[in-house]
Symmetry: C2
Subunit: 409 residues, 2 copies
């Protein structure tokens, strides 16, 4: 590969998705490689949220539950996300946080397999997935067991549900959704996929692959804003049979009957619990329009191109500074992050941020760069590698300030 | 009482809180008596939310978790609410919906009374409180039992936790927090108060009355906007001992260590689950400033004045149309709503809304009017009674349209 800036500019010129960056407001003077943690602001969101505040809330007041479509927002936004994950419009709903959604789904799955007592996860998964599984297990008298991520043989007749993140948060490794789903089903278990690092990065085929459940985050590659509510997917074949314990009033079949006893709504609506955060949901609703007309196969090709360029530049210029590649070398096995391990990773990332290259640090030693495909240019990849190279060459990270700064990214 | 409009205007002229209405953007041509369902928009919110979207998210991006105070928002907003409910600043946190918060708290309370197997509620309480209690009971193998709201003798040695709404959503009846808390404690039980219809309406003394737990809504009298996140209170004496099953990553003692195993944070921070909806939380944060400098005893006096004027006007002009009072006649026993029962209540409320008087309907026969004290004038009360009288006199509600319209308020 010809690793010049000119080459990167040529890749941008040929990029069929290059126009999508214009849909976002992106600060000057910053290279932002952290869309995997908080996606950039789509330009249409500010006006849309302002209208929700000033017109819908301020002037419409309570009437806006009907007239502004607040009441149907969880389903409407879910239908937009369904297109990105290979689901039917009525198989996805947006409700609470990813953690709360996962709690509901794991509890639901355990009820569907009452004779089995194990939730099976994998080591090294995103902590909240493990923490929530532990919480559900403790509450229900079941066991949360973790195994290595290729240890499909651990799925057995005691496994009620397998729960894992499709694309690993730290390395970007893509698990084989087809093989693991099949292995779970072969053992009579159900499967829950956490798509937080998948949706918006690669085409997903939940329905086609026969997945049972999925959850995912609204604020990473979906660009829904800080703490955007999360989505839940349930395969249609389970709609009549699943239920969950977070039975709030909006999940009732007739919330405005104010009946004494709970009777759950049909289908995905039963996953509603309390009143959803409409302003945050409105931002996500508008943000998803940034995917309008985006071909998900082109999106995937771009992700592989961006990450491959970065890996090549890292090989050429960065490994000599003591970095090692913590992500898969094979682009087909990689989501949209490339992580480099370095013993001084913490201070290095703090210094990079201070120098205008925003990635993030994941303990103990990972500097992580996310290549959100709608907003990242090939030239950004080149410039990022140059900044890292310069900073490492000048040891600009080696200061007390960068070594002690508190990171929350 | 001299029930003229002039008298109402004189009450407004003497109202020490009359200036507070200027803190809100209120539509022209509407009398809004539904702040008990969705509070009006405080004027400072639009600018504050726009800054959160455009500056903090758009330009600050991930850095804003630190620089814009997103990370500490749940505690900061909780401290503002603490002042309204008689709690210490570090006894309140804002996280998910009221329903999800109540789920956490009921599960926590059951763990603190492992030998007791009953959650005790009252009949006629807000449905989500009962639905969530049922969900927790089913999941934990305990029982959710409901008794009449004066039946304190039902609290016994089998009761783990008593859970009820302080001010009834439908009638405005105020339960005796002191007596019920004492009765629960005398029986060795814990108590959870739902303050959704109390905070912002009357002074609360959770700490002084020795309450164990409380939850409450952000979008009613606190004016936090549609679906604003809810708060949770836990008495400091329980901070070291309580835990709950919704163990998400933000409730970890060191979320950014990304440790494999959950170890809960100290104090209220352990109630955090997933990433909170920052835009909705920002709106609530700003909205609470409308309470700056408001004396809660004056607020209470105004609530009693507003509701008493409406009851007097109803006696004089409305009962002859077939209404009966569904709220307590004694102002001291009444929150900020006055409800009238009428067999044609549904169509009547639809017609009132079409005529610019916004209250709401609660099945089967309640027309409910909420007198949010920061935004309602005594003249509004007078005008509302006149509109109802006119509409009933002219039978303007008696049309197929009003009888069939779908209500969601």
């Amino acid at each position: 590969m010809n690793l010049t800036r000119q080459h990167a500019l040529e890749l941008d010129a040929r990029d069929p998705l290059a126009h999508a960056r214009d849909r976002f407001a992106i600060p000057d003077g910053v290279i932002y490689l952290d869309g995997n943690s908080l996606g950039c602001l789509p330009k249409n969101v500010a006006q849309r949220v302002a209208a929700a505040v000033e017109d819908e809330w301020g002037m419409g007041l309570i009437r806006s539950w009907n007239t502004a479509g607040w009441y149907t927002a969880p389903q409407r936004v879910g239908a937009k996300i369904a297109k990105l994950i290979g689901a039917a419009a009525d198989e996805v709903i947006v409700t609470d946080s990813t953690s709360v959604g996962l709690f509901k789904i794991l509890a639901a799955a355990l009820r569907m397999r009452p004779d089995r007592k194990t939730i099976l996860g994998i080591t090294g998964d995103f902590p909240t997935d493990a923490y929530i599984a532990s919480g559900v297990a403790k509450l229900t008298g079941t066991t949360f067991k973790r195994v290595g991520d290729r240890d499909l043989g651990a799925i057995d007749a005691t496994t009620a549900v397998v729960s894992l993140t499709h694309v690993n948060y730290k390395t970007g490794f893509i698990h084989d959704m087809r093989a693991i789903t099949e292995a779970a089903h072969a053992a009579g278990a159900l499967i829950v996929w956490d798509l937080s690092h998948s949706a918006g990065v690669l085409p997903l085929e939940l329905a086609k692959l026969n997945a049972d459940f999925a959850v995912g985050c609204g604020y990473k590659y979906l660009n829904g804003g800080p703490g955007a509510p999360a989505y839940v997917f349930v395969a249609k074949r389970h709609h009549d049979t699943f239920d969950h314990p977070l039975t709030g009033w909006l999940g009732h079949i007739d919330p405005f009957a104010f009946a004494d006893d709970y009777k759950h709504a049909k289908g995905m609506d039963k996953l509603l619990t309390g009143t959803p955060p409409i302003l945050s949901l409105t931002a996500l609703d508008a943000a998803l329009d940034a995917f309008d007309g985006i071909d998900l196969h082109q999106l995937r090709t771009k992700v592989e191109g961006l990450t491959s360029l970065f890996v090549a530049l890292a090989d050429e210029r960065l490994m000599r500074h003591g970095f090692t590649l913590a992500s898969p070398r094979d682009a087909h096995q990689r989501g949209a992050v490339v992580s480099l391990a370095h013993a001084e990773g913490y201070a290095i990332m703090q210094a990079l941020i201070a120098h205008g290259l925003i990635g993030d640090f994941r303990a103990p030693d990972i500097v992580r760069f996310g290549f959100s495909p709608l907003t990242t240019r090939f030239a950004d990849v080149f410039d990022a590698a140059c900044i890292i190279d310069e900073l490492m060459t000048g040891r600009a990270w080696d200061t007390p300030e960068f070594k002690s700064r508190k990171a929350v990214t």
